[in-house]
Symmetry: C2
Subunit: 327 residues, 2 copies
């Protein structure tokens, strides 16, 4: 298996990409995984030269251009066909790579993935997933911001795509799907959620457990939460920031506690998004994983692991089959 990794995506590229790729290959030693670093070959080779023991299975594919924050996402495909994002996706599309991972501009990766990999039949609006830490296991929230103004049937498609993803890439045998809403009872919510509830409760092939309120999210009672990208995006960004805020509140005490044997490493690890390996784009004819622009090597490593698992499990084929089930 080959994974194309955009080597020019993070804010300090290609350092974290190269380090993450090396970490990943060392961890998978013996597995059949190769990583293609896509980007400026001079910069990448210079970075690789810092390592005395680059594992086998790393190669470089030159892409002379680079997407910058000022580039309108939708125009990247047309205006920057030789950028690392577009070149990496093209390698995937042409079968030279089995998946694509990037920490570049979220909008550009989404738009370019959509254009290059195309939505699967039955998918109107491919969603982006986000993994939320909960009191139990991680929960996949989708849509996390790609689709604003969803229709009820889009949430049903998200439920299918999220179920296949959590089954294939996260090992959940019978994923529970919740609908993000403002009350537990059926009939609660806005027009979208009231109608989506009705569709979801009789939809075949998903394990719908009903409405999920804001306060239920961290309890971790579902594997997949579906919602419109507007509320999903606000919730995700809020969650990412609030953990930091609460930890800041604790900072003085933590500093005092550092000498007193208080072990907070586990807490930070649970709340650390770098652990979770990026946000998958779902419902496309390929595997495309987006990482934060500030990703450290560990986050890149984990995103590569998620991509490998998605490829190995047959995520795309399963998604396609699942959506073909007549509902």
């Amino acid at each position: 298996m080959r994974i194309a990794l955009d080597a020019m995506g993070t804010d300090t590229a290609p350092g974290p990409e190269v380090a993450g790729a090396i970490q990943a290959l060392r961890a998978y030693e013996g597995d059949d995984v190769e990583i293609i670093l896509v980007g400026d070959e001079v910069l990448i080779e210079a970075e690789l030269a810092k390592y005395s023991d680059v594992p086998e299975g790393i190669s470089v594919h030159h892409a002379p251009d680079r997407v910058t924050p000022g580039d309108p996402p939708a125009s990247v495909i047309r205006r920057k066909p030789e950028s690392s994002i577009v070149v990496g996706l093209r390698l995937h599309k042409q079968g030279e790579a089995n998946a694509f991972v990037s920490a570049g501009s979220t909008g550009a990766v989404m738009a370019s993935s959509l254009f290059t990999l195309r939505p699967l039949p039955g998918v109107d609006r491919p969603p982006v997933g986000a993994l939320l830490p909960t009191a139990r296991e991680l929960c996949l929230l989708l849509d996390a911001g790609a689709n604003i103004g969803c229709k009820p049937q889009h949430l049903v498609q998200f439920a299918h795509l999220g179920s296949v993803y959590t089954r294939d890439a996260m090992g959940r045998p019978d994923p529970r799907v919740g609908l993000l809403n403002i009350g537990e009872e059926p009939g609660k919510g806005d027009e979208l959620t009231v109608e989506a509830y009705e569709l979801l409760k009789s939809e075949k092939g998903i394990n719908f457990i009903g409405n999920i309120e804001g306060r239920d999210i961290v309890r971790g009672e579902c594997d997949v939460i579906v919602c419109d990208g507007f509320v999903g995006n606000i919730l995700l960004k809020f969650y990412e920031s609030v953990a930091g805020y609460i930890v800041d509140l604790l900072r003085t005490e933590l500093e005092a506690a550092e000498d007193s044997g208080v072990d907070l490493e586990h807490v930070f690890r649970v709340l650390d998004y770098a652990e979770y390996g990026g946000a998958p784009l779902l419902g496309l004819g390929g595997v495309s994983i987006i990482c934060h622009g500030g990703s450290p090597p560990k986050a890149i490593h984990n995103a590569l692991a998620v991509a490998a698992r998605a490829v190995r499990s047959g995520l795309v084929r399963h998604s396609e089959e699942d959506l073909r089930i007549p509902s």
Copy 2:
């Protein structure tokens, strides 16, 4: 000034209400504040009898009936006219009390307040506010769940009502208003927020600072955040639960740290909703404050303080005047 306090609202009523009222009167000694405990006079008197030193200024107004969780909120006014909620609001409406505070069913208090106190001229959909802890000061989020499917002009009304409230009841001289959205730039968002942005940026009498993303909320850069009640409710409930979740994550370490001099009291206090004194209903011809059903005496005390401040500052009159300004 007299405040009508629903004495039958909390899950363990009337204990917390009586204790909170006594705390409040002791704190305001010398101020001209009286509290009318509204509810079952036998139960209230029995509770008062537990105190040897009940301060002056407490009186009891009998209300034989009580709203229960099974009562449909909209029907309480008609079906339970002698409930503590309806009787308390009537005392306010008739001028025998200057404000009403209740920890009873949120829906019942909202519906009964709306019906009894009526919206002010210029207010189509009175919002409910919620106070969010931030890295700086508390921030008023509205609407927190009373209004689903808002129109752009409703968010403009919320901006006015929130500005007057934070000025009058929270002492913010020039409240900054943000629009909750999924991007910072104008033009981002769903239909509602795109149109609301256009209205808000040219609206007179408010200090609009633009779009606020999920990650900006805890930074505390605005005094008022306006949004539709759907996203506001999900965000509020999520925030209430996530603090507890993160503290749970810390629990083992906290227990270990208890003996090691780590002082976490401040952290808990900042995240403790009981500190903040309830959720105000805004845009009505009166002052109505809703507390959590699980409110301890401190929360009741603080809600009474907020009500007193709202009355003293002329909140209702200011709201009415503010909404009369031609925009």
